[in-house]
């Protein structure tokens, strides 16, 4: 058996061309900028979105009106941007409220003893027992529908999943050896919370918050589409799509196609931003 001098390659790792971490950061930046742009543009278009122009009715998409115009001659691009920015604002507000509820309930369940935990987990089961959209309809119905109803409904119904996550994280953290050791080393409860718990839970909370966004936006649009949400005079994406239904059989496909695509893109981007954020923050997936 001689040393042949050459070496057998036993395994070769198929490296990706792009650095994964760099790619993730790029997604994050791209997604954030795009969403910010939609929001800002939507806010800036102002009245264009509701200005009627009967000389320009039912135009197919072209240079001057890339998304076409509707039966009142309103520019669909402006309406879509406006609608999307309203959805994003509502989503933002609703996600923050839901996330705060989740943080409070999750922390309470994990720290205030078995009884509180049992009550909160039972409550989570309860809320998750009603299909989400039906719950939204119920809440919005209770509040007499309209903008206020949809905002509150979306805001107070998205907490259960994040509550579970936060509860689980804190429970796990409480059992972590290093936390128990800190206590034996004389660290006060307050210090342990500030130094060990918050820095661990906060990033997960932020990721959870961002990942609530797409759900909140989709649900707002759905609720508005069904007629429970924004009033018809507001150019919400849900309103635009629900109105477009009447004109579908007339072949006015652009009324539904583009607004829906923008909505889908926004949701996809929020998912992408949240996912990228998690990849960067979460040590478990850091090596992927």
């Amino acid at each position: 058996m001689n040393n042949t001098g050459s070496v057998t390659v036993l395994q070769k790792y198929q490296r990706k061309r792009l650095n994964q971490r760099g790619q993730t950061l790029m997604y994050l930046a791209f997604g954030s900028i795009f969403l910010l742009a939609i929001t800002v543009l939507g806010t800036l278009v102002g009245d264009i979105a509701i200005t009627t122009n009967f000389t320009q009715k039912n135009f197919l998409p072209h240079m001057a009106h890339p998304f076409g115009t509707d039966w009142l001659g309103r520019d669909m691009l402006a309406r879509t941007l406006k609608g999307m920015s309203i959805s994003i604002y509502i989503g933002l507000f609703a996600s923050v409220i839901s996330a705060v509820i989740a943080a409070i309930l999750g922390a309470a369940a994990a720290t205030l003893g078995k009884k509180v935990d049992a009550v909160i987990t039972w409550f989570i089961d309860l809320v998750m027992g009603i299909p989400h959209l039906l719950l939204l309809i119920l809440i919005s119905y209770a509040l007499g529908r309209g903008t206020f109803g949809v905002v509150v409904a979306v805001a107070i119904s998205h907490w259960p999943v994040l509550t579970r996550i936060i509860r689980g994280e804190i429970l796990q953290l409480k059992e972590a050896n290093y936390i128990k050791i800190a206590g034996k080393l004389g660290q006060s409860k307050m210090k342990i919370v500030v130094k060990h718990m918050i820095p661990h839970v906060l990033p997960q909370f932020l990721v959870g918050l961002v990942l609530l966004f797409p759900h909140a936006i989709l649900h707002e649009a759905a609720l508005t589409f069904l007629g429970f949400g924004l009033p018809p005079e507001q150019p919400g994406i849900g309103i635009i799509l629900s109105e477009s239904m009447k004109y579908l059989s007339l072949g006015m496909w652009w009324l539904a196609l583009f607004p829906g695509m923008v909505l889908m893109t926004a949701v996809l981007l929020f998912d992408l931003v949240g996912g990228s954020l998690r990849k960067i923050i979460d040590p478990h997936s850091a090596q992927e």
């Binding site: 198929q14 039972w122 089961d125 309860l126 998750m128 027992g129 009603i130 299909p131 989400h132 959209l133 039906l134 309809i137 119920l138 809440i139 919005s140 119905y141 209770a142 509040l143 007499g144 797409p214 989709l218 649009a221 759905a222 589409f225 069904l226 007629g227 429970f228 799509l241 477009s244 239904m245 579908l248 059989s249 072949g251 496909w253 539904a256 196609l257 829906g260 909505l263 889908m264 893109t265 949701v267 996809l268 998912d271």
Partner: protein, 335 residues
């Protein structure tokens, strides 16, 4: 209570049923509070604005008494609850029929739609998820993952509209759905018609449902393929096919069951939107009509029924888990 080897599982079933009943009562209370809190006046909703103007004070009082406008909420809930237990869910304001019979008809329609979608999305979702997980980072995984991520972001009702545009407006091979007016009894529609009307809603619901199941199954599959026992099976020289058949598929079954039954809630939510777009006479459409038309008793009834479906699904999932997983079946995890 000691009933031999099954005492653990029986105890578990007993406990679960008690928990489900407590949750269902809570759901009914929560829903009751919500519909009661509504500023929508049931009497006004029942007879409409013009009716209100022409109504005599005496009749109005009768109606108010019927809807319990002046009864304290707790008593009203108790009345509803005792009636409910006896099978009476009140009268639907929109349909002018007992809620139970409205729900019965709508439920049957929805069941056809939801079951079709549930089976299709489950079946295809697993296949896609398993394939993607097995061929992680290869082109087929990328295609499946990309498709699923796209679909997961897609608004259900928009997909429904797009499908209508393609199949009904453009290709004109399927009914536009909107042709069935609100409130038409399912019995008045011919079977062939029903099936035609079922295709697009079921397709929409299935396509949407696949995404989630695929993505979750894929994650689980990747986890399983990284387990020690898969590594050891490889080290023992087992073929890839044998590893997949004997270990991967066996182990993916457990999370798959949970996922499949947990998807009931989502499918129900999706059916509300899909039924609305296609005017499909099911529970979801009824819920929307009830909400818009101020039909509180019907809304309440649908909430309780849908919660029963969700909890029932969870219960069956746990039970199946107990049958399949030997650690639970033979161990003492139920105690």
């Amino acid at each position: 209570m000691d009933i031999g080897p099954y005492s653990g599982i029986l105890k578990y079933i007993g406990k679960s049923i008690i928990k489900i009943i407590s949750l269902l009562i809570a759901v009914s209370i929560l829903s009751f509070i919500l519909v009661s809190a509504s500023p929508v006046d049931p009497v006004r909703a029942f007879i409409g604005e013009i009716g209100m103007a022409n109504m005599s004070a005496e009749n109005l009082n009768k109606l108010e008494a019927y809807f319990g406008v002046n009864t304290p909420p707790i008593e009203r809930y108790w009345n509803w609850f005792t009636d409910f237990v006896q099978g009476d869910m009140g009268t639907s304001l929109l349909y002018r029929q007992p809620v139970s019979s409205v729900i019965h008809v709508k439920f049957m329609n929805s069941m056809v739609l939801m079951t079709t979608a549930w089976i299709f999305s489950g079946f295809l979702g697993y296949i896609f998820g398993i394939v993607a997980g097995l061929y992680r980072d290869r082109w087929i995984d990328k295609a499946i993952k990309g498709y699923s991520l796209l679909i997961a972001s897609m608004p259900t009702f928009w997909l429904a509209l797009v499908l209508v545009m393609i199949f009904s407006v453009w290709l004109q091979i399927l009914p536009i759905g909107l042709s069935v007016p609100i409130g038409v009894n399912a019995a008045e529609v011919s079977i062939l018609d029903s099936i035609k009307h079922l295709i697009l809603p079921a397709l929409t619901l299935s396509v949407i449902g696949i995404a989630n199941i695929t993505l979750h199954t894929r994650e689980k599959m990747i986890d399983i393929m990284g387990e020690d026992y898969i590594l050891f099976a490889k080290a023992r020289g087992k073929s890839r096919l044998s590893i997949i058949r004997n270990h991967a598929l066996r182990n993916i079954m457990l999370p798959a069951i949970t996922l499949q039954f947990a998807s009931i809630s989502e499918i129900f939510g999706g059916s509300v939107l899909v039924e609305q777009v296609f005017s499909y006479p099911g529970l979801g459409k009824a819920a929307v009509s009830a909400g818009l038309g101020g039909d509180a008793p019907l809304l309440l009834g649908i909430a309780v029924i849908s919660a029963t479906l969700v909890f029932g699904g969870n219960f069956i999932a746990n039970l199946l888990y107990g049958i399949i997983d030997p650690r639970i079946r033979r161990g003492s995890a139920y105690e």
